[in-house]
Amino acid sequence: MANGTTTVNEKSFYQQSTNKYSGILSWLLTTDHKRIGIMYGVTILFFFLVGVILGVLMRLELMAPGKTIVDAQTYNSLFTLHGVIMIFLFIIPGLPAIFGNFFLPIQIGARDVAFPRLNLLSYYIYVAGALLALLAVILPGGAIDTGWTFYIPYSIRSNTNVSLPLLAAFVLGFSSILTGLNFITTVHRMRAPGMTFFKMPLFVWATYATAWIQIIATPVIGITIVLVILERLFGVGIFDPALGGDPILFQHLFWIYSHPAVYIMILPAMGVVSEIIPTFARRTIFGYKAIAISSLAIAFVGYLVWAHHMFTSGMSDTARWIFSLLTFIVALPSGVKIFNWVATMYKGSIDPKPPFLWVMSFIFLFSIGGLTGLVLGSLATDIHVHDTYFVVAHFHFVMFGGTGTIFFAAIHYWFPKMFGRLYNDKLATLGVLGFFIGFMLLYFPKFIMGYMGMPRRYYDYLPEFASLQLISTIGSWVLAATIFFIVGYLIHALFKGPKAGSNPWGGVTLEWHIQSPPTMENFKEIPKITHEPYDFSQLKEMKNEYS
């Protein structure tokens, strides 16, 4: 309502189907990138909430020493499922599949992605993967207990259902590859006239860089997973130490994917940040090219650091210090981004709306995550804190405090565009606050416990950890309650919120030039791009576009 514009609304994409069906089939068989984005949204949000509940259950178990609600074996399954769901079903697909699908085509002035039907197929492959993972929980044999890293040799010895979740990860990887391939082709082939590479919004740049990582890294985990499944089924020997196979080789192959996967998670988030900050600081982004290129730099250097997860696994000293050095080098392009964001805000006229507050929270939490990453990247200190709660705290700060926070920022930023409604700013501000407080209570004590020597993946602990563990558990309640509160007011806004104009925040990238929610074709005519992406002098002319 910021500009008080009322749009002359044409039929939105909710009212116009891409196929001959109406009702539910018009969704299930749609090729509209926006509808597919929303279907991903609903599915991914569901699994996120399941993951949160599993996390809260674990925290309940850890509330007091000894057995509290579950036994050791159940705890093993809990953290494995929690990890698998959060990594493969939530955080990796999250931003690209929902917001990339919805906004990447719009931001480059296209009507859809390059391969709309393949896009729908990727969605169903994702669903199939998710169902396989769930199936493995209910089948007899017991839920997988290897940890989300599936380390050999335990993953070939465990009697629980390991092969099925592995297959699920393989299938999900395939979905990820197809999405990446689709986005790369879209960016190369579908940009509107005048939209040169250096006129693309930074979210597009980030998603583009991510798509490359998805394509280059995912096949490696794919084949590794297949090898583990074959090992379990036929005893091929490739990873089985009893037959000459090398478990360390598995770890290498696993991390050759799973470290770059960290960038699949964080790069799109950084792209979202680069969208939100200019909009709410009313200033063009500082160092546009540096941010764009640093995404590619992260994508590239991020490839060469995988073995920092294996400093204690057995490697030559030379390899260890090289990997440690390279790990420090990746901090550089990330630093470039942080400084450019801060410089963008300098002397801007900042409007602290909820999306912006989420970004502030992100910068704080992600910086803690990043700095403690340096502790883990240094050889000497890593030996001390390896496999302790320090690591658990660190990766929750980067993944959840980083990408997870931006997931909420993105929802709050684009919600009016996607659904044409506004949510209540006050409730949303409360949401940011509750999230931040809950988060710090939940995870900060884990740094201290880790430093004191509390190992990860244990359902029990020594009495000296009791008070910190209790604080952490209380934090999990605050955090989980806030998350459900946020989901609650958003759903309320979906049906009851006031109508959003086409440009409630005063953004200037292409999605703010079209009506909310967009029409099925996004643009009546494909726009001709003349402005730089964050040129706020356009705002004046834009006022006339719809009012």
């Binding site: 039929k11 939105s12 909710y14 009212q15 116009q16 189907s17 891409t18 196929n19 001959k20 069906y21 109406s22 009702g23 018009s26 090729t31 509209d32 009507r111 859809d112 390059a114 391969f115 709309p116 393949l118 590859i177 990446g180 391939l181 689709n182 790369i184 082709t185 190369h188 082939r189 579908m190 394509i215 280059i216 995912t218 096949p219 490696v220 794919g222 084949i223 590794t224 297949v226 090898l227 074959l230 036929f234 005893g235 091929v236 020997g237 490739i238 037959l243 000459g244 196979g245 090398d246 080789l249 192959l253 659904f419 044409g420 409604r421 979906l494 049906f495 929610p517 099925m520 074709e521």
Partner: protein, 209 residues
């Protein structure tokens, strides 16, 4: 929000972009190369660790059948290329003929593979067999990799057969024509990849002894 649908179907933005389609295909082939790349990496590591045993185990493989299969696949790459060229020139009949020949070659490859594997099986050499487990570790690994890599490649040949058969039907039904042949071309690219990977598998398993 008003979530109800117009029942009248709207023609969605179907647009044709052959260059885009080809770009997507190349990206996909790239991921396939990386998939096998992981296996080649594993092969390299174990070959380096067990040079002697790999050498001994490789002597068990039948170079004759391997060579025959190489010739078959190379020829099939040629016929699929000819099929594309024929269709571009508007010669539907020749295109169909060449594509069918490609399929014949693909089946021949699989039949050879079947005999090759079953011969190994009858000698008791397969993953987990007592015979194999009595051999030194290096040889177990060699045969493990042999089955995994040629097996995965065989799976790709099977998928190729399905794709090429579908394309064949589409040509017959005039869904793929001389001015709209991107699907045929992309399937051809896929088939070349299957061929290419075999070109690497063949020396690694059958020739380096």
């Amino acid at each position: 929000m008003n979530i109800h649908n117009e029942s009248a179907a709207v023609h969605h933005h179907v647009h044709r972009d052959d260059i885009g389609a080809k770009m997507g295909m190349w990206l996909f082939l790239f991921t396939e190369l990386l998939l096998f790349g992981g296996l080649f990496l594993v092969y390299a590591v174990y070959r380096y660790q067990h040079t002697e045993q790999f050498h001994l185990a490789a002597m068990e493989l039948n170079t004759g059948i391997g060579t025959l299969n190489t010739v078959i696949l190379l020829t099939s790459s040629l016929t699929v290329a000819l099929s594309i060229a024929a269709l571009q020139k508007g010669n539907k009949f020749l295109s169909i003929l060449m594509l069918s020949l490609t399929l014949v070659f693909a089946f021949m490859f699989m039949i050879n593979k079947y005999f090759e594997w079953s011969a190994k099986f009858s000698h008791g050499i397969y993953p987990g067999s007592d015979e194999l487990l009595s051999l030194p570790n290096g040889q177990i690994l060699f045969f493990g990799l042999y089955y995994v890599m040629t097996g995965l490649h065989g799976l790709h040949v099977l998928i190729g057969i399905i794709i090429l058969s579908t394309i064949l039907v589409m040509i017959i039904k005039n869904k793929i024509t001389f001015d709209n042949y991107a699907k045929l071309e992309n399937s051809g690219l896929y088939w070349h990849l299957v061929d290419l990977i075999w070109i690497f598998l063949f020396p690694l398993f059958y020739l380096i002894q």
